[in-house]
């Protein structure tokens, strides 16, 4: 398993309590299988609601005085909070998005889960929520999924959405470091996209200067609630313009940062060198989320799509150069006008790898090359992104052995 981890700025303020998180003291209060809801099939419309969850929830309480209590797996139920709970007033909250995958070999896998656990530590650090040992957290998550997945994730090639969340649960009308927190995790049954289905491509609306997602010195790099609700008005504008997501621009130069809540990649032919480049914004100003899919795309591209890659792996694709740097929407417009655009896509846990069809921009739309599929549908050209997506799918569904796949042993009941 990869362990690359970025250290957070303000480690001095970590709020580790007296008792560390301990996965070995799990308390289980389980719903008998006969009393659990039926498991919807992969195409069951119940999944469209995004509301259906598995039978249990994982919770871990923390207090400043005694640290982490024993993790509990119990029937999925509501959370009782005082009306003064810090999370309801001051947004002391962080979360992660992960998926559990049922491999074609029947095995259960997570994708680089340590990175999620480490990122949650970084997010918590920014909003003063408690720190924890990421190995222990992963162990707790593993136990939960080993328990839920034999029943709730039976179909090879399908996945379960997993949402670890941390909230400041203590009563606090004064703005202060939360004295109590609650970690909880549940698994949601989302619609399963059929890999055979062709995406018509995402349309993005370039944000106007009245809507800036994040700022240096802010918290754009952290997965905290404060980054999401405030993005809603821009999202509404995007919908109104016939787009599904916002392409977040930053500053007077209109730097391209993220798309919706995903990272954004563009592939173009460089003007002077004529080289093909895979470009995504660099992370240096800390306004961009350090996406795990983003990192994985960059690593795979560097390994398998560059000039030094194995020609057999590269196949019919021309080698490209991987570039992480700031770039502007004007630059993309130039590339578009000069016919140098090849493709674009967004990456994220929920969106996975999704090709972009067009970017609606005040002065001028940017349209990406389209192709007509065998079934007569129009879709963005996605030679590179579909290759990347395929490689990632091979890893998460166990078609190949790869250190990024984290296999969970399930008890056979």
């Amino acid at each position: 398993m990869a362990t690359e981890v970025k250290n957070s700025q303000s480690t001095i303020l970590r709020t580790a309590g007296p008792r560390g998180l301990d996965a070995s003291v799990m308390i289980k209060n389980l719903v008998p299988e006969s009393e659990q809801q039926r498991v919807p099939g992969p195409q069951d419309p119940v999944r469209l609601s995004q509301n259906a969850t598995t039978a249990h929830i994982l919770t871990i309480r923390w207090t400043a005085d005694s640290g982490w209590e024993a993790p509990q797996i119990s029937p999925y139920s509501k959370i009782a909070l005082e009306p003064t709970a810090s999370v309801l007033h001051y947004a002391t909250e962080s979360f992660e998005g992960m998926k559990a995958y049922r491999g074609y070999d029947g095995k259960l896998r997570l994708f680089r889960p340590r990175l999620n656990c480490e990122r949650m530590r970084i997010s918590n650090d920014r909003v003063c929520l408690p720190d924890f040992d990421s190995v222990e957290l992963l162990s707790v998550i593993t136990t939960f999924l080993a328990l839920e997945c034999p029943r709730w994730l039976p179909d090879p090639g399908s996945n379960l959405y997993v949402r670890p969340t941390m909230i400041g649960s203590g009563s606090a009308l004064g703005i202060q470091r939360p004295r109590e927190a609650l970690f909880f995790l549940f698994a949601a049954l989302f619609p399963q996209s059929s890999s055979a289905k062709v995406s018509p491509g995402i349309k993005l609306l370039a944000s106007d200067p009245e809507q800036i997602r994040a700022w240096p010195g802010g918290f754009g790099y952290a997965k905290v609630g404060a980054n999401y609700g405030p993005a809603m008005t821009a999202q509404a504008q995007a919908r109104e313009a016939g787009c599904s997501q916002t392409l977040w621009l930053f500053g007077e130069d209109k730097l391209v940062t993220e798309a919706g809540a995903s990272n954004f990649f563009v592939i173009w032919r460089a003007k002077t060198s004529n080289e093909i480049e895979l470009v995504t914004s660099s992370l240096d100003t800390k306004v961009i989320l350090d996406g795990i899919t983003r990192r994985s795309v960059l690593a795979l591209a560097r390994e398998r799509l560059t000039a030094s890659a194995d020609p057999d792996v590269l196949g019919d694709l021309k080698p490209l150069k991987v570039v992480e740097r700031a770039f502007t929407v004007a630059e993309m417009l130039d590339v578009s006008v000069e016919g140098r655009l090849i493709e674009a896509f967004v990456s994220g846990t929920a969106m996975f790898i999704s090709p972009v069809a067009m970017i609606r921009h005040k002065q001028q739309d940017i349209e990406f090359p389209m192709q007509v599929t065998e079934t007569g549908l129009e879709a963005p050209v996605s030679h590179y992104s579909s290759r990347l997506k395929g490689w990632l799918e091979d890893i998460i569904y166990g078609k190949v052995d790869h250190p990024w796949a984290y296999v969970i042993e399930e008890k056979v009941s």
Binding site: A52, Y161, R177, W215, G225, A226, G229, M351
Partner: protein
């Protein structure tokens, strides 16, 4: 997190959803548990909201249902009151859904909320709040609110900014008045004491899709509080913070959203480690002074050329919270200080300008302004390797303007001075 649009289910698919959750038997504060909304979500476009919302019921105080507590709390002695620790017997709550608008307002015993783990407020910070106070007048025993229309306007602005529902402000003021009346025994009549009110609006929709919440809960809780400075003013010292930002252009700094607060805790603790009370939030290369902690900031300096005394505060450019106390200080200054020769201006003061004024002996006074303290005098500001002295003598804890403002505003709040800002609760 972003989810494909497909996930943001239309009504038909949503209606098929089955809860895997057991209904909570003990609490009915939230509506009977609904795992899906029966209608389309609140319109995506903010522009069409007015039209759609106009047809839905607004807040209706005439429908108020009151359930009184059967276990009234013992009153805490005035001297033992701690901000946010004691609450009154009751709370007000009003639910809203995209399909049915504002529901029956309820005053119930103060109690816990019970929320599904997938509730959007936990994940995406769909939340905003207000801070306001009710005061008991020693003259006529009346209960009074201070400029409640301002709080309502701001709560509506905050709500709109974060895709939560808006409402008619005077209707909520009416209901808040009823809550205050019911819990009047908690409000000490001693000067300096008051009932802190916290209207809070949260998104309650149960979904992981980032979309405008299809349901919301507005609740108001009340906490009796004592004077912010029980033993008289205590001037604070600030860290001029340049490594973190509170707000930015195109952000949400002018709204009272939860999202503005959690990220400020770490910088506050860092300042505290240096022995400083609050952050003085600087912005941009010019190091414009924006706010202090969670208050607006006022600076009094003598003009370099003319020697005229100037009261300055940051302009409302979208990054500054539109403080009710800020507005009151400005209005009172224009009415009462300008005739004395003061100049009142809403403009940025650069950190360098403040330092220059100090060096020239032109820095008269600096203070924060907010609901909790009214004014918070500042003694020192730590900036780079300097310590700026804000003009207080060693023996004094507040400057002249801060003192005047506190007395004027408090006089109005407690009904000592008849003023349209003080609104009697009928």
């Amino acid at each position: 997190m972003s989810l494909p649009r497909l996930f943001r289910a239309p009504c038909a698919a949503r209606a098929l959803a089955r809860p895997t959750v057991r209904p909570d038997p003990c609490l009915r504060l939230l509506p009977t548990y609904k795992p899906f909304s029966t209608s389309r979500r609140r319109q995506d476009s903010l522009a069409v909201d007015d039209e759609a919302a106009a047809k839905l019921p607004g807040i209706d105080p005439s429908k108020l249902e009151v359930t009184k507590t059967i276990t009234p709390k013992e009153l805490v002695p005035n001297k033992d009151l701690v901000f946010g620790r004691t609450f009154t017997d009751h709370m007000l709550s009003i639910e809203w859904t995209a399909s049915q608008g504002w529901q029956t307002p309820r005053i119930t015993p103060y109690q816990n909320l019970s929320l599904d783990p997938a509730t959007c407020v936990f994940h995406y910070a769909f939340e905003c709040f207000e801070g306001m106070k009710a005061y008991k007048s020693q003259h006529d025993g009346s209960l009074r609110l201070f400029r409640p229309d301002k709080n309502m306007a701001r709560l509506n602005k905050s709500a709109a900014r974060i895709a939560l529902p808006t409402f008619e402000g005077d209707k909520l003021v009416d209901l808040i008045g009823k809550l205050c009346k019911l819990d009047e025994r908690f409000i000490p009549s001693e000067k300096g004491y008051s009932l802190y009110l916290r209207p809070t609006l949260i998104g309650t929709q149960r979904t992981l899709g980032v979309g405008p919440p299809g349901s919301a809960l507005l609740f108001v809780i009340a906490s009796p509080v004592g004077p912010y400075y029980p033993t008289g003013f205590k001037a604070i010292s600030l860290e001029a913070t340049d490594y973190a930002v509170r707000a930015w252009p195109g952000g949400v700094g002018d709204s009272k959203l939860g999202a503005n607060y959690a990220p400020c805790i770490v910088p506050q603790l860092k300042a505290a480690k240096k022995g400083l009370h609050q952050n003085l939030w600087l912005f941009g290369e010019e190091e414009n002074i924006t706010e202090v902690g969670t208050m607006n900031l006022f600076v009094c300096i003598k003009n370099k050329e003319t020697g005229q005394k100037e009261l300055l505060t940051a302009p409302l450019d979208g990054t500054i919270l539109e403080g009710v106390t800020r507005d009151s200080v400005l209005a009172l200054a224009r009415e009462r200080l300008v005739p004395e020769g003061w100049k009142v201006q809403e403009r940025y003061v650069k950190m360098q300008e403040l330092a220059d004024a100090e060096a020239d002996g032109r820095l008269v006074e600096v203070f924060g302004a907010g609901t909790a303290a009214i004014v918070a005098p500042v003694r020192k500001i730590s900036w780079r390797d300097r310590l700026i002295d804000c003009g207080l003598k060693e023996t004094e804890e507040a400057g002249e303007v801060a003192l005047k403002m506190k007395n004027w505003i408090e006089g109005i709040q407690y009904g000592d001075e008849p003023h349209p800002w003080s609104v009697k609760i009928p």
